[in-house]
Symmetry: C2
Subunit: 278 residues, 2 copies
Amino acid sequence: MEAANNRQQQASPRGGWVGFGLIDRYPFYVEPFHVDFTGRIFLGVLGNHLLNAAGNHSQKRGWGIGALKETQHTWVLSRLCIEMEEMPLQFEHCEVRTWVKNVMRYFTNRNFSIHRTDGTPLGYARSVWAMIDLASRKPCDLITLYDGDILHYVVPEEQDVCPIEGHGRFRFQEPKLVRTIDTYYSDVDINGHINSIKYIEHILDLFPRERFEKQSIRRFEIAYKAESYLGDRLSFYEQVVSDNETDIEVRKFSQENGNALEHKEQGEVVCQAKVCFR
Amino acid sequence: MEAANNRQQQASPRGGWVGFGLIDRYPFYVEPFHVDFTGRIFLGVLGNHLLNAAGNHSQKRGWGIGALKETQHTWVLSRLCIEMEEMPLQFEHCEVRTWVKNVMRYFTNRNFSIHRTDGTPLGYARSVWAMIDLASRKPCDLITLYDGDILHYVVPEEQDVCPIEGHGRFRFQEPKLVRTIDTYYSDVDINGHINSIKYIEHILDLFPRERFEKQSIRRFEIAYKAESYLGDRLSFYEQVVSDNETDIEVRKFSQENGNALEHKEQGEVVCQAKVCFR
């Protein structure tokens, strides 16, 4: 504990971090257009708040995507899982807390908790990130990058309060094709990639209204496998695991070189997700 | 001018407004997932900021949808038009200013300006709202409602700085069907209606990538005609007015009572929009 506290007082070689804590708090407000027909925040919007909190937390420590660009590096989100006791309601004031759980050579785990502003916990989230070289698109060694500066931000184990299960493995066996969509202007981010949040929206859109009327989402898990681009056709494959648990695999059929469908009938896996209702 | 200033010092019978100005300012920040592939804010996201500013401005004066519910009334957005000199960039800090331009029996006009936080104007917007009775869904007389309290909030003419053209009329002559979509969970708001912002997204999604690569949106105009609901099928009809100007009409085919398509082949007009590129 003492060692950990001392560590918090050191200055960072990256210059972004001097003497503040390891866990940051980001307030958010649940806007009217950000809630579903039950009056609770859309999971995609919540996911957006988590990613913003992650971005701000990194930036404050000299590890934001802007600073990383100087050395031709960037973060890539590999996995995200969110487990909620209760979804925030319209007009509620809440906050995301986030911290770095640990750092491995090619991955770092970042955890989150979501609270009402009075401190009541509403849920938790886990994420896994890789650092890539922008030119080669290959993963970088996080431990040697910037002389291991990132290790300064790992919280002591006792501060890593995230009681939810870790990321699971997906095992798809002949999942059923349930929908195919084209992707458009609103689906893509500044890099021209279908954005991480849009996949969440498209996946939840597979479920009928009745599902959300009678049940709420307890846990959502997603593993990002490959990028897809504006104009790609996305196919959604469903595998019902149990009454309350459904796995979804998203495959892309690139439209870039004419009709790619002929060549790759199965498409390429873009992401895999698990939706658990309660 | 003196009369106007005096008016600002009166207390409101609705209790929400005592002695502050008539024009409110709402800061917003351009988040990473809120920009398109050119790095500028999505028009739909900007529209959301405008509607939030409108909601907050009304609420502060005792005319928010929460307070109105007590007497079974609510606001309905009828028209919105946005004209931008420049779209805010990712990570920019901006603000919306909004005020009530005037009040007629069945409509009120609310205007907006959008600025960088240093004050530089980036664009303007106009909106038209009706007040309806929640039970009858019929429009109410805004001037007699709450003893004409709303008239306290109308700005003096010289403060109504909104140089953009007013709402135009749409004239569709055999527009061409360009896309039909189904609507899902993510499309609807707390009332179960396809939300006003989602229409903007779906409309802009009709344009190909090249359009946004080469041009930017100068003006966007939308008139909301009828509500559509989760599960409705929406058809988008296009009428090219000139190289840089396209009108879109959205019609719904309700799925509620079996196959309504047979009965109403043309569908019902839900909204009409004009998109002007520069």
